[in-house]
Subunit: 199 residues, 2 copies
Protein backbone atom coordinates (compact mmCIF):
# COMPACT_ATOMS: atom_id res chain seq x y z
CA UNK A 1 0.00 0.00 0.00
CA UNK A 2 1.11 3.58 -0.63
CA UNK A 3 2.23 5.60 2.40
CA UNK A 4 1.73 9.36 2.40
CA UNK A 5 3.79 11.49 4.77
CA UNK A 6 1.76 14.62 5.23
CA UNK A 7 0.53 17.48 7.41
CA UNK A 8 -3.23 17.91 7.23
CA UNK A 9 -3.27 21.72 7.10
CA UNK A 10 -0.97 21.69 4.05
CA UNK A 11 -2.58 22.50 0.72
CA UNK A 12 0.33 20.75 -0.99
CA UNK A 13 -0.59 17.58 0.90
CA UNK A 14 -4.28 18.11 0.18
CA UNK A 15 -3.61 17.95 -3.58
CA UNK A 16 -2.44 14.37 -3.17
CA UNK A 17 -5.20 13.40 -0.73
CA UNK A 18 -7.90 14.84 -3.01
CA UNK A 19 -6.56 12.97 -6.04
CA UNK A 20 -6.20 9.69 -4.13
CA UNK A 21 -9.81 10.04 -2.94
CA UNK A 22 -11.04 10.66 -6.49
CA UNK A 23 -9.01 7.74 -7.79
CA UNK A 24 -10.37 5.53 -5.01
CA UNK A 25 -6.81 4.47 -4.12
CA UNK A 26 -6.29 3.34 -0.51
CA UNK A 27 -3.19 4.60 1.32
CA UNK A 28 -1.66 4.82 4.74
CA UNK A 29 -1.39 8.35 6.14
CA UNK A 30 1.55 9.28 8.40
CA UNK A 31 0.97 12.69 9.91
CA UNK A 32 4.05 14.81 10.64
CA UNK A 33 3.93 18.02 12.66
CA UNK A 34 5.95 20.39 10.48
CA UNK A 35 5.66 23.09 13.15
CA UNK A 36 7.60 20.83 15.54
CA UNK A 37 10.41 20.05 13.08
CA UNK A 38 9.21 16.57 12.14
CA UNK A 39 10.37 17.04 8.53
CA UNK A 40 13.90 18.09 9.58
CA UNK A 41 14.85 14.92 11.48
CA UNK A 42 17.62 12.69 10.06
CA UNK A 43 15.02 9.94 9.71
CA UNK A 44 12.75 12.03 7.50
CA UNK A 45 15.59 13.66 5.55
CA UNK A 46 16.65 10.14 4.52
CA UNK A 47 13.20 9.86 2.89
CA UNK A 48 13.19 13.35 1.34
CA UNK A 49 16.49 15.28 1.46
CA UNK A 50 14.57 18.50 0.78
CA UNK A 51 12.70 18.01 4.07
CA UNK A 52 9.18 18.70 2.91
CA UNK A 53 5.77 17.10 2.97
CA UNK A 54 4.00 15.63 1.13
CA UNK A 55 6.33 12.71 0.44
CA UNK A 56 4.95 9.50 -1.02
CA UNK A 57 6.43 6.09 -0.29
CA UNK A 58 5.68 3.55 -3.01
CA UNK A 59 5.13 -0.12 -2.32
CA UNK A 60 8.73 -0.94 -3.28
CA UNK A 61 10.11 1.57 -0.77
CA UNK A 62 10.87 4.31 -3.33
CA UNK A 63 10.20 7.84 -2.11
CA UNK A 64 8.73 10.54 -4.31
CA UNK A 65 8.72 14.23 -3.36
CA UNK A 66 7.19 17.47 -4.70
CA UNK A 67 3.40 17.53 -4.49
CA UNK A 68 2.86 18.22 -8.20
CA UNK A 69 5.22 15.41 -9.27
CA UNK A 70 3.42 13.01 -6.91
CA UNK A 71 0.07 14.10 -8.37
CA UNK A 72 1.37 13.54 -11.92
CA UNK A 73 2.73 10.10 -11.01
CA UNK A 74 -0.58 9.00 -9.50
CA UNK A 75 -2.73 10.47 -12.26
CA UNK A 76 -0.78 9.42 -15.37
CA UNK A 77 -2.94 7.24 -17.56
CA UNK A 78 -6.17 8.22 -15.80
CA UNK A 79 -8.89 10.71 -16.77
CA UNK A 80 -7.16 13.35 -14.61
CA UNK A 81 -4.27 13.80 -17.09
CA UNK A 82 -5.12 14.97 -20.63
CA UNK A 83 -4.69 12.26 -23.25
CA UNK A 84 -3.00 14.49 -25.84
CA UNK A 85 0.49 15.97 -25.82
CA UNK A 86 -0.61 19.62 -25.97
CA UNK A 87 -3.19 19.00 -23.24
CA UNK A 88 -0.53 17.50 -20.98
CA UNK A 89 1.72 20.49 -21.63
CA UNK A 90 -1.11 22.90 -20.80
CA UNK A 91 -1.82 21.01 -17.55
CA UNK A 92 1.88 21.19 -16.65
CA UNK A 93 1.93 24.89 -17.58
CA UNK A 94 -0.69 25.54 -14.90
CA UNK A 95 1.10 23.24 -12.42
CA UNK A 96 4.39 25.13 -12.82
CA UNK A 97 2.45 28.40 -12.61
CA UNK A 98 1.05 27.11 -9.32
CA UNK A 99 4.46 26.48 -7.80
CA UNK A 100 6.15 29.64 -9.09
CA UNK A 101 3.48 32.34 -9.40
CA UNK A 102 0.73 31.23 -6.98
CA UNK A 103 1.96 29.11 -4.04
CA UNK A 104 4.53 31.64 -2.70
CA UNK A 105 1.88 34.38 -2.81
CA UNK A 106 -1.16 32.49 -1.50
CA UNK A 107 0.15 29.57 0.57
CA UNK A 108 2.98 31.55 2.16
CA UNK A 109 0.86 34.50 3.41
CA UNK A 110 -1.65 31.92 4.68
CA UNK A 111 1.18 30.20 6.57
CA UNK A 112 2.40 33.49 8.02
CA UNK A 113 -1.08 34.46 9.19
CA UNK A 114 -2.15 31.03 10.38
CA UNK A 115 0.98 29.44 11.83
CA UNK A 116 3.39 32.21 12.88
CA UNK A 117 2.97 34.47 15.95
CA UNK A 118 1.05 37.73 15.49
CA UNK A 119 4.28 39.69 16.08
CA UNK A 120 6.32 37.69 13.53
CA UNK A 121 8.75 39.84 11.52
CA UNK A 122 7.55 37.97 8.45
CA UNK A 123 4.28 39.96 8.57
CA UNK A 124 6.18 42.69 6.71
CA UNK A 125 6.13 40.36 3.66
CA UNK A 126 2.34 40.13 3.60
CA UNK A 127 1.32 43.14 1.51
CA UNK A 128 3.76 42.38 -1.32
CA UNK A 129 2.94 38.69 -1.36
CA UNK A 130 -0.83 39.29 -1.28
CA UNK A 131 -0.53 41.73 -4.21
CA UNK A 132 1.27 39.07 -6.23
CA UNK A 133 -1.36 36.55 -5.14
CA UNK A 134 -4.09 38.82 -6.53
CA UNK A 135 -2.08 39.06 -9.77
CA UNK A 136 -2.02 35.25 -9.97
CA UNK A 137 -5.79 35.12 -9.47
CA UNK A 138 -6.09 37.72 -12.23
CA UNK A 139 -4.30 35.38 -14.64
CA UNK A 140 -6.62 32.52 -13.61
CA UNK A 141 -9.69 34.78 -13.87
CA UNK A 142 -8.90 35.72 -17.49
CA UNK A 143 -8.66 32.05 -18.44
CA UNK A 144 -11.64 30.84 -16.40
CA UNK A 145 -13.90 33.56 -17.78
CA UNK A 146 -13.70 31.61 -21.06
CA UNK A 147 -13.17 28.02 -19.92
CA UNK A 148 -14.81 25.76 -17.34
CA UNK A 149 -11.51 24.22 -16.26
CA UNK A 150 -7.82 25.07 -16.60
CA UNK A 151 -6.68 22.45 -19.12
CA UNK A 152 -9.62 20.95 -20.98
CA UNK A 153 -11.72 18.76 -18.73
CA UNK A 154 -11.31 18.66 -14.92
CA UNK A 155 -7.69 17.58 -14.41
CA UNK A 156 -4.61 17.60 -12.22
CA UNK A 157 -4.22 21.30 -13.08
CA UNK A 158 -7.52 22.07 -11.33
CA UNK A 159 -6.66 19.84 -8.37
CA UNK A 160 -3.32 21.51 -7.64
CA UNK A 161 -4.62 25.08 -8.07
CA UNK A 162 -7.77 24.42 -6.06
CA UNK A 163 -5.76 23.39 -2.98
CA UNK A 164 -4.65 26.85 -1.85
CA UNK A 165 -7.09 28.91 -3.95
CA UNK A 166 -10.10 27.74 -1.96
CA UNK A 167 -8.35 28.96 1.22
CA UNK A 168 -7.36 32.37 -0.17
CA UNK A 169 -9.37 34.12 2.58
CA UNK A 170 -6.99 32.61 5.14
CA UNK A 171 -4.14 34.27 3.19
CA UNK A 172 -5.87 37.64 3.51
CA UNK A 173 -6.82 37.64 -0.17
CA UNK A 174 -10.44 38.53 -0.97
CA UNK A 175 -11.73 36.60 -3.97
CA UNK A 176 -14.94 38.66 -4.26
CA UNK A 177 -13.75 40.46 -7.45
CA UNK A 178 -12.75 37.16 -9.10
CA UNK A 179 -16.16 35.94 -10.27
CA UNK A 180 -14.89 33.28 -12.67
CA UNK A 181 -12.43 31.92 -10.11
CA UNK A 182 -15.23 31.57 -7.56
CA UNK A 183 -17.49 29.81 -10.05
CA UNK A 184 -14.59 27.46 -10.90
CA UNK A 185 -14.00 26.72 -7.18
CA UNK A 186 -17.65 25.66 -6.95
CA UNK A 187 -17.33 23.46 -10.06
CA UNK A 188 -14.24 21.75 -8.64
CA UNK A 189 -15.93 21.17 -5.27
CA UNK A 190 -18.88 19.57 -7.10
CA UNK A 191 -16.75 16.91 -8.84
CA UNK A 192 -17.50 13.26 -8.00
CA UNK A 193 -15.45 11.99 -5.08
CA UNK A 194 -14.45 15.46 -3.87
CA UNK A 195 -13.26 15.57 -0.26
CA UNK A 196 -12.58 18.60 1.94
CA UNK A 197 -9.06 19.59 2.98
CA UNK A 198 -9.57 18.83 6.65
CA UNK A 199 -11.55 15.82 7.90
Amino acid sequence: MLTLYDYLDSGNGYKVRLLLAQLGTPYKLVELDIMQGATRTPEFLAKNPNGRIPTLELEDGTFLAESNAIVWYLAEGTRFVPADRLGRAKALQWMFFEQYSHEPYVATPRFILRHLPADSARRTELATRQAQGRAAFGVMEAHLAKHDFLAGNYSVADIVLYAYSHRADEAGIDLTPFLAVRAWLARVAAQPGHVPMLP
Copy 2:
Protein backbone atom coordinates in the same frame (compact mmCIF):
# COMPACT_ATOMS: atom_id res chain seq x y z
CA MET B 1 8.07 26.61 -37.64
CA LEU B 2 8.12 27.13 -33.87
CA THR B 3 8.58 30.68 -32.60
CA LEU B 4 10.30 31.25 -29.26
CA TYR B 5 9.77 34.56 -27.47
CA ASP B 6 12.78 34.91 -25.24
CA TYR B 7 15.45 37.06 -23.58
CA LEU B 8 18.94 35.70 -24.12
CA ASP B 9 20.24 36.32 -20.59
CA SER B 10 17.35 34.30 -19.11
CA GLY B 11 18.22 30.83 -17.80
CA ASN B 12 14.55 29.92 -18.17
CA GLY B 13 14.80 30.71 -21.87
CA TYR B 14 18.13 28.91 -22.15
CA LYS B 15 16.49 25.66 -20.99
CA VAL B 16 14.33 25.72 -24.13
CA ARG B 17 17.14 26.83 -26.46
CA LEU B 18 19.46 24.10 -25.16
CA LEU B 19 16.83 21.40 -25.64
CA LEU B 20 15.90 22.65 -29.13
CA ALA B 21 19.59 22.57 -30.09
CA GLN B 22 19.99 19.02 -28.81
CA LEU B 23 16.81 17.94 -30.59
CA GLY B 24 18.01 19.61 -33.78
CA THR B 25 14.68 21.42 -34.06
CA PRO B 26 14.76 24.68 -36.04
CA TYR B 27 12.86 27.66 -34.62
CA LYS B 28 12.43 31.37 -35.01
CA LEU B 29 13.75 33.45 -32.10
CA VAL B 30 12.00 36.70 -31.16
CA GLU B 31 14.08 38.57 -28.60
CA LEU B 32 12.20 40.70 -26.07
CA ASP B 33 13.91 43.14 -23.74
CA ILE B 34 12.34 42.28 -20.39
CA MET B 35 14.19 45.19 -18.75
CA GLN B 36 12.30 47.58 -21.04
CA GLY B 37 8.86 46.13 -20.30
CA ALA B 38 8.53 44.18 -23.55
CA THR B 39 6.69 41.33 -21.75
CA ARG B 40 4.13 43.70 -20.20
CA THR B 41 2.70 45.15 -23.42
CA PRO B 42 -0.93 44.36 -24.33
CA GLU B 43 0.40 42.61 -27.44
CA PHE B 44 2.59 40.21 -25.46
CA LEU B 45 0.05 39.71 -22.65
CA ALA B 46 -2.34 38.42 -25.30
CA LYS B 47 0.23 35.69 -25.98
CA ASN B 48 1.03 34.96 -22.32
CA PRO B 49 -1.27 36.56 -19.73
CA ASN B 50 1.37 35.93 -17.04
CA GLY B 51 3.74 38.23 -18.97
CA ARG B 52 6.87 36.10 -18.90
CA ILE B 53 9.43 34.66 -21.26
CA PRO B 54 10.05 32.08 -22.53
CA THR B 55 6.78 31.68 -24.41
CA LEU B 56 6.55 29.24 -27.31
CA GLU B 57 4.25 29.73 -30.28
CA LEU B 58 3.36 26.48 -32.00
CA GLU B 59 2.81 26.20 -35.72
CA ASP B 60 -0.97 26.37 -35.26
CA GLY B 61 -0.71 29.65 -33.31
CA THR B 62 -1.16 28.09 -29.86
CA PHE B 63 0.95 29.68 -27.14
CA LEU B 64 2.64 27.69 -24.39
CA ALA B 65 4.16 29.29 -21.28
CA GLU B 66 6.29 28.17 -18.30
CA SER B 67 9.79 27.08 -19.30
CA ASN B 68 9.54 23.64 -17.73
CA ALA B 69 6.18 22.90 -19.38
CA ILE B 70 7.61 23.99 -22.74
CA VAL B 71 10.61 21.71 -22.19
CA TRP B 72 8.33 18.79 -21.32
CA TYR B 73 6.18 19.41 -24.40
CA LEU B 74 9.18 19.46 -26.73
CA ALA B 75 10.91 16.47 -25.13
CA GLU B 76 7.98 14.08 -24.67
CA GLY B 77 8.61 10.89 -26.58
CA THR B 78 12.34 11.61 -27.06
CA ARG B 79 15.38 10.30 -25.17
CA PHE B 80 15.26 13.39 -22.94
CA VAL B 81 12.16 12.18 -21.03
CA PRO B 82 12.40 8.85 -19.14
CA ALA B 83 10.41 6.07 -20.76
CA ASP B 84 8.96 4.71 -17.50
CA ARG B 85 6.32 6.19 -15.23
CA LEU B 86 8.52 6.42 -12.12
CA GLY B 87 11.35 7.91 -14.16
CA ARG B 88 9.03 10.59 -15.52
CA ALA B 89 7.83 11.36 -11.98
CA LYS B 90 11.43 11.64 -10.74
CA ALA B 91 12.27 14.00 -13.62
CA LEU B 92 9.22 16.11 -12.76
CA GLN B 93 10.18 16.01 -9.07
CA TRP B 94 13.47 17.75 -9.93
CA MET B 95 11.72 20.14 -12.32
CA PHE B 96 9.28 21.27 -9.62
CA PHE B 97 12.20 21.46 -7.15
CA GLU B 98 13.89 23.74 -9.69
CA GLN B 99 10.99 26.16 -9.81
CA TYR B 100 10.20 26.20 -6.09
CA SER B 101 13.45 25.54 -4.21
CA HIS B 102 16.18 26.62 -6.65
CA GLU B 103 15.12 29.30 -9.15
CA PRO B 104 13.99 31.92 -6.55
CA TYR B 105 17.30 31.47 -4.69
CA VAL B 106 19.74 31.27 -7.61
CA ALA B 107 18.10 33.03 -10.56
CA THR B 108 16.63 35.85 -8.46
CA PRO B 109 19.88 36.86 -6.68
CA ARG B 110 21.59 36.66 -10.07
CA PHE B 111 18.93 39.00 -11.48
CA ILE B 112 19.32 41.42 -8.57
CA LEU B 113 23.12 41.49 -8.92
CA ARG B 114 23.22 41.57 -12.70
CA HIS B 115 20.24 43.64 -13.78
CA LEU B 116 19.27 45.98 -10.91
CA PRO B 117 21.22 49.09 -9.87
CA ALA B 118 23.93 48.69 -7.21
CA ASP B 119 21.83 50.70 -4.75
CA SER B 120 18.64 48.67 -5.31
CA ALA B 121 16.65 48.06 -2.11
CA ARG B 122 16.31 44.44 -3.24
CA ARG B 123 19.96 43.87 -2.29
CA THR B 124 18.68 43.32 1.26
CA GLU B 125 17.15 40.04 0.00
CA LEU B 126 20.49 38.66 -1.19
CA ALA B 127 21.88 36.98 1.94
CA THR B 128 18.69 35.06 2.71
CA ARG B 129 18.17 34.01 -0.89
CA GLN B 130 21.79 32.93 -1.34
CA ALA B 131 21.61 30.82 1.85
CA GLN B 132 18.54 29.05 0.45
CA GLY B 133 20.35 28.65 -2.87
CA ARG B 134 23.22 26.89 -1.09
CA ALA B 135 20.66 24.65 0.63
CA ALA B 136 19.26 23.72 -2.81
CA PHE B 137 22.76 22.89 -4.06
CA GLY B 138 23.19 20.75 -0.93
CA VAL B 139 20.15 18.69 -1.92
CA MET B 140 21.53 18.27 -5.45
CA GLU B 141 25.02 17.45 -4.10
CA ALA B 142 23.70 14.57 -1.97
CA HIS B 143 21.98 13.06 -5.01
CA LEU B 144 24.79 13.67 -7.50
CA ALA B 145 27.40 12.16 -5.17
CA LYS B 146 25.68 8.86 -5.95
CA HIS B 147 24.30 9.37 -9.46
CA ASP B 148 25.68 10.75 -12.73
CA PHE B 149 22.45 12.54 -13.59
CA LEU B 150 19.32 13.64 -11.75
CA ALA B 151 16.74 11.20 -13.11
CA GLY B 152 18.41 8.19 -14.71
CA ASN B 153 20.15 9.13 -17.96
CA TYR B 154 20.73 12.74 -19.04
CA SER B 155 17.23 14.22 -19.24
CA VAL B 156 15.02 17.29 -19.05
CA ALA B 157 15.72 17.36 -15.29
CA ASP B 158 19.40 18.01 -15.97
CA ILE B 159 18.63 20.57 -18.66
CA VAL B 160 16.37 22.70 -16.46
CA LEU B 161 18.63 22.58 -13.40
CA TYR B 162 21.79 23.24 -15.42
CA ALA B 163 20.43 26.54 -16.75
CA TYR B 164 20.88 28.64 -13.61
CA SER B 165 23.25 26.29 -11.73
CA HIS B 166 26.08 26.88 -14.17
CA ARG B 167 25.74 30.62 -13.54
CA ALA B 168 25.65 30.37 -9.73
CA ASP B 169 28.77 32.56 -9.44
CA GLU B 170 26.76 35.41 -10.97
CA ALA B 171 24.26 34.92 -8.14
CA GLY B 172 27.05 35.31 -5.58
CA ILE B 173 26.96 31.60 -4.74
CA ASP B 174 30.33 29.81 -4.64
CA LEU B 175 30.05 26.22 -5.86
CA THR B 176 33.57 25.27 -4.72
CA PRO B 177 32.28 23.10 -1.83
CA PHE B 178 29.84 21.26 -4.12
CA LEU B 179 32.19 18.80 -5.78
CA ALA B 180 29.53 16.49 -7.18
CA VAL B 181 27.49 19.41 -8.55
CA ARG B 182 30.57 20.74 -10.35
CA ALA B 183 31.37 17.33 -11.83
CA TRP B 184 27.74 17.08 -13.00
CA LEU B 185 27.91 20.55 -14.60
CA ALA B 186 30.91 19.32 -16.60
CA ARG B 187 29.06 16.14 -17.63
CA VAL B 188 26.05 18.15 -18.80
CA ALA B 189 28.27 20.56 -20.76
CA ALA B 190 29.92 17.58 -22.48
CA GLN B 191 26.63 16.18 -23.84
CA PRO B 192 26.30 15.96 -27.64
CA GLY B 193 24.77 19.09 -29.14
CA HIS B 194 25.35 21.23 -26.04
CA VAL B 195 25.26 24.98 -26.69
CA PRO B 196 26.25 27.82 -24.36
CA MET B 197 23.66 30.15 -22.83
CA LEU B 198 24.82 33.22 -24.77
CA PRO B 199 25.94 33.09 -28.42
